[in-house]
């Protein structure tokens, strides 16, 4: 799985001085970012994928053609008990238990997205909290937090997860705990860096000169200005978590049966590549597309929200 790339931003040089921008009707920076995002067809493709996946996850009970856990012992399995291939009844075939693969893939979206969002929300909260403290107050706290992130980031992520999941019981909670133990560091580091640079901005100095209280400086002047890269990181983080869950599940430490999780589906389907290739190919493709969607969106957001592109 990929660790989140450290911000690789694109900067365009100011090719000419001065203000050439056309005066548009007043929009906030978010509106501005949205406009930029809309012009980026690749990012929009990502957004569409993400939206579709979200929709799929929410509407799973409505759109999935079968109960994802219903085992069709006769219709869904050959006489020897092998999965059956795609047909008009099972659009993408069945799995080893005679369950409808498509339905399981649709329900699997719930697991993947829930995990991705929950993990990253927790990471973001912890990371922002520590990053702000570390970046704004500096000194001892900063050293402590930064050393901690160094240590966390020095662990080979997957090994740590394996060790952790070997200790905790496999399952959703364990995955969340494990991924949060590791994942917050990325956020903290990013936020700290942002806070450090924003803190020196003259508008923060101005706020201090005006007697604005420290909490208000943090919440009104600093946080809103560091949020943009966090949003991009969030999208990339979701892709990281989805991929991570799949990898951990692949190693047999993931979500418990019979819950439909893409990683587990690929794991159990992996060895069927010769005899029932649909078991591994379709969930694999769906996983790839989803991760790609979040990556595209995250990249696009990073560009759209990048303050270096502004002015």
């Amino acid at each position: 799985m990929t660790r989140l790339n450290n911000s690789t931003r694109l900067t365009t040089r100011n090719w000419a001085e001065g203000n050439y921008g056309r005066r548009k009707k007043s929009v906030g920076l978010w509106g501005d970012a949205w406009r930029r995002l809309r012009k980026n067809p690749v990012a929009m493709a990502g957004l569409v994928i993400v939206a579709l996946m979200t929709l799929m996850a929410i509407l799973a009970p409505v759109i999935s053609p079968h109960d994802p856990n219903h085992q069709y012992m006769n219709r869904g399995l050959t006489s020897m008990g092998a999965p059956v291939g795609p047909s008009s009844f099972f659009l993408l075939g069945t799995d080893q238990n005679g369950r409808d693969l498509l339905s399981r893939m649709i329900w699997g979206a719930r697991i993947s997205l829930t995990l991705g969002v929950v993990i990253n929300s927790l990471n973001a909260v912890i990371g922002i909290f520590l990053g702000v403290i570390s970046g704004y107050f500096g000194k001892f706290v900063d050293t402590l937090v930064m050393r901690l992130t160094d240590i966390v980031l020095a662990f080979p992520f997957l090994l740590l997860m394996i060790a952790l999941l070997a200790v905790l019981s496999p399952g959703m909670e364990s995955i969340i705990i494990g991924f949060v133990l590791v994942g917050w560091a990325q956020y903290a580091r990013l936020v700290r860096g942002q806070v450090l640079s924003v803190k020196e901005m003259e508008y923060v100095q101005a706020a201090r000169a005006l007697g604005v209280s420290t909490p208000r400086i943090i919440f009104q002047h600093i946080l809103p200005n560091v949020i943009a890269p966090i949003i991009a990181l969030f999208a990339l983080g979701v892709s990281w978590a989805i991929m991570g869950e799949a990898t951990v599940s692949f190693l047999g430490l993931g979500i418990q049966a019979p819950t439909a999780s893409w990683g587990t589906m690929i794991e159990t389907g992996a060895s069927w590549i010769t005899s029932a290739p649909w078991l591994v190919i379709y969930p694999g493709i769906l996983l790839l597309i989803t991760v790609l969607g979040f990556n595209l969106l995250g990249d696009g957001l990073r560009d759209a929200l990048d303050p270096h592109l502004r002015r």
Partner: protein, 323 residues
């Protein structure tokens, strides 16, 4: 009339951005004679830097030189191939940029950065290239040049770096030197040193110089002729005394009266130009300066002035002088 080195005719450089076509340079004409020094003055966005980059052939997408001629000793640079231009750049025309802190490659030694141009254009070997570099460093007044030649740019002060930039530019004895705000990023005492140096070398190398600046003081110091630009067009051209003392264009008036005078006695209120420079992506009809002009006439907002030579050597683009 002296020999013409560089002649720019009706140069137009546009940028095709998402927000529309930005007419950064919109019809620039001038002529530069051997050894002459031309000041190009204007505020941000007046197109003076883009003009320089256009001459150098360094306009990058989304920008494009859409029309005009740039004749260097009669040959139109706009018709040259990339390879041919590479032979001319740094050799016949050299350029100094505004910010000496960022204009030198941080990972290459200063000597290398001078020598590589010499090796390239003068077809000498590396060692000779370094010798030339050393000689140039001495010429631009860098003390302990033998030591400094091995240094990296970050080990030098801004003034020193700008001297290195000048050494690079002059190392191949160019016919034309374009200096784009060479002292804007420097302190005033260092600026004085650099301007002094430029003046000295101008004489020494007999290089025709285009000095781009927003500071009329700088122009007064080093230039013989001045071209004032506004919104991508030259609005007034003349010798420096005329422009500073008997300007004809309302914009030039405005510029001069905006400046606090050092030698003024007592308090005098400044007279700024109202409003803001126009959006180059959305130029007004008629004269671009009209919306800010205190002397505008109805015709100014309808029709672009074509410009007029009031005397040989004094050009003004203003409806006040067109009849």
């Amino acid at each position: 009339m002296a020999e013409s080195i560089l002649e720019v005719k009706d140069l137009r450089t546009y940028f095709y951005t998402e927000a529309g076509v930005v007419k950064a340079v919109n019809g620039v004409n001038f002529r530069l004679e051997k050894g002459q020094s031309l000041g190009v003055v204007g505020e941000s966005g007046s197109g003076k830097s883009i003009t320089a980059l256009s001459i150098m052939g360094l306009i990058k997408p989304p920008g494009r030189v859409i029309s005009g001629e740039i004749r260097l000793q009669g040959q139109d640079l706009l018709k040259k191939s990339r390879k041919e231009l590479e032979k001319i750049r740094g050799n016949d025309i050299a350029m100094i940029f505004q910010d000496p802190m960022t204009s030198l490659n941080p990972v290459l030694r200063v000597g290398e950065q001078i020598a590589e141009a010499v090796v390239l254009h003068r077809k000498v070997n590396r060692k000779e290239g370094w010798n030339v570099a050393l000689e140039m460093l001495k010429k631009v007044g860098i003390p302990e040049a033998e030591d400094r030649i091995r240094r990296f740019p970050h080990e030098m002060s801004g003034g020193m770096r700008q001297r290195v930039m000048i050494a690079i530019a002059l190392s191949c004895n160019p016919k034309v030197l374009i200096a784009d705000e060479p002292t804007t990023a420097l302190d005033v005492t260092i600026q004085a040193q650099i301007l002094d140096l430029i003046r000295l070398l101008q004489k020494d190398f007999e290089t025709a110089t285009i000095m781009i600046t927003h500071d009329l003081g700088v122009v007064a110091e080093v230039c013989r002729n001045v071209m004032v630009m506004y919104a991508g067009q030259p609005v007034e051209y003349s010798d420096v005394t005329t422009v500073l003392e008997q300007p004809k264009h309302p914009y030039t008036w405005g510029l001069l009266s905006s400046l606090p005078k050092l030698n003024a006695s007592g308090k005098q209120r400044l007279t700024p130009i109202d409003g803001m420079p126009p959006d180059l992506g959305n130029l007004p009809e008629g004269c671009a300066f009209a919306p800010r002009c205190p002397h505008k006439k109805p015709v100014c907002e309808r029709q672009e002035p074509s410009g007029k030579w009031l005397s040989p050597g004094h050009f003004v683009r203003c409806h006040l002088y067109e009849a």
